[in-house]
Amino acid sequence: MIQIQQVSKTYDRGRSFAVQRVDLEVGVGELLVLLGDSGCGKTTLLKMINRLVEPTRGRILVEDRDVSRVNPVALRRGIGYVFQGVGLFPHMTVAENVAVVPRLLNWEPAACRDRVDELLRLTGLSPRTHRDRKPDELSGGQRQRVGLARALAARPRIMLMDEPFGALDPITRDGLQREFKRLQQALNLTVVMVTHDMTEALLLADRIAVMKQGVLVGTGTPRQILRNPSHPYIAALMETPRRQADQVESMLRSGGEGQ
């Protein structure tokens, strides 16, 4: 579905690399997580897929077409995007936010309306109560859901997600993550998701690609990554969730502290 071939992005005329010679493939219906510290180039790589950033070298194919030969506006309208910090338009209602891309694509108003209601229900919001609200009248979790609905509006087959569940409290985040995973499987969406949250990556991903300082250091299923890390950096990364899991488990086994 998406092929990333020898892609590099340099700034300062080649002196500093944001992304260095990355090769990566994402299959149909696969949820690939790009994992790494902030500044490792994962967001830059994500943005090169819909040409928000242009690669310096290499090429990217989406559904077998070289994206550099596709009109960027048309390309973006065909790919769902969930932005870091959601980026809802504050002057538009929830319904208007969700219908942005369908309207850019000149859908009939009635079709837009129906689609908005369908998506609000799909993302766990009530069309009646939420349709006409402004973003600042929503909770963080509700905003996140609207962001998701907006990305799904024009029925894309590919979704790009930049830390989509960041800035949410753990319970809301957990609920949303599981709902999204169900949705993704039901719609057979191909997803590239950026995160620096190891647990999120392990729980959601079909496959994880770990990046460090612009270089792809390894890929694998969550199980492979956890059990046989192919790179010392991956092993170090996995140390944290592993230790946390062990601590939780030992607490459960001893019957819990303070009881």
Partner: protein, 505 residues
Amino acid sequence: MTESALADQLRLLPDYLGHHLTLTLVALSSGIAVCLPLAILVTRVKSLQWPVLTVASVAQTIPGLALLALMVPLLGRIGFLPAFIALLLYSMLPILRNTVTGILGVAPDILEAAEGLGMTSRQRLFRVELPLAAPVIIAGIRTATVWVVGSATLSTPVGATSLGNYIFSGLQTQNSTAVLVGCAAAAVLAIVLDQLIRLGELAVAGRSRTKGWLAGAGLLVMLLSTVILQIPTAKGSAVVVVGAKPFTEQYVLAEAIAQRLTQAGLRAENRSSMGSMILFDALTDGHVDCYVDYSGTIWANVMKRQDLPPRRDLLEQMKAWLQREHQVRVLAALGFENNYGLAVPRHKAEALKLASIRDLTGHAPQMTIGADFEFFVRPEWTALRDAYRLDFRERRTFDPSLMYAAAREGVVDVISAYTTDGRIIEYDLAVLSDPLQALPPYDAVLVLSPAAARRAELVRALEVFDGSIDDKTMRAANKRVDVDGESPAQAARFLLKAVGLSSPG
């Protein structure tokens, strides 16, 4: 008395308000039409930002009156055009700066979302950037509105009628009713326009149809009233434009001429409070049809002559010169002189034994002289100073209406008085004689533009003024305004009656 004074002023309101509103609305809408695209361009081409905003800021720092006055020589004409251009420049900075600030203030993550969802740059502008910047942009437009309504009052001296006519003539004639009416009307207009825009903004933001209709209706009323208010004056070529310089005698004479023209069945319109040279230029190019000037003023300032022939000769030579050089016709010498003279309070003149300007020479280094804005840059002053070797300790300029009081109260020792001013007697001032005849005679003359001189009915209506007004009558008419608080229109009725020109009834 007070009631009739107010009624006298309110009679002028439709005309002044109509012109003011037209000027304001045209300047503002042009300002918006120019500045919005320019501001958008500036946000796209960053290198333009500094130069464009700097130019707008500089235009803003020029005082309103100076900016307006500057437009006259730049455009070579008076009236609506220079006022419009100056006000347009004046409206630019708040609109430009707020639009740029508003657009650049849209959060980067919102812009990225717009781009990432597949908006073209135009869609991003109209669907995201402009709606989000709208409150800031509208705040700028409202600021510009209030400024332009206020500054438009300054377009009176460049020959565009506005509510400033009340203020300028009111200040000169010490008619506080006129000044108050002008200020109040301008303030009300500014508030109404500002609130209409605010209402429109609320209507859009709150998607309220009622507010939208109200704002639309209000704006429509404004637009219609510019047309309706000006219907009486919009009768085209038949209107005779009567000019006046900014002092009482000129207002009274312009009113008297206008009243006389009305009696004769012609339509007259006054353009008051214009500077001497602006007025003369306006006459030669036909923007003003007639006004009263003074022979000495034209002799020294327009003809640039330094010699001084006797009064009759000077008048004849001037008539011939104006006809030859400018096709300007001197229709009538009104019969009185309004000379420049140096005046001192009588008690001071007696104490220092001052009878002629020559007696001043020795005292001048200890004295302060006050004059109107023009006097010290006019050739008459140079001639006077050199002839009597006058070397005053200090020179101060005043509004003519304040100059006499300054002399009475001892703020200055000597003033450049107009000899027909009623306040010379009222304030007990002594006019010093000019034995060396350094100052020319200032016969009041009614001058016609080349076009006006060809209109027989106009010439017939006004030639009766020839030799009709003597010094005493003119001084009495001036005093009615400056001392007794009458309006120029009332004084003009007195003047016409006194010289036997008022129509029966």
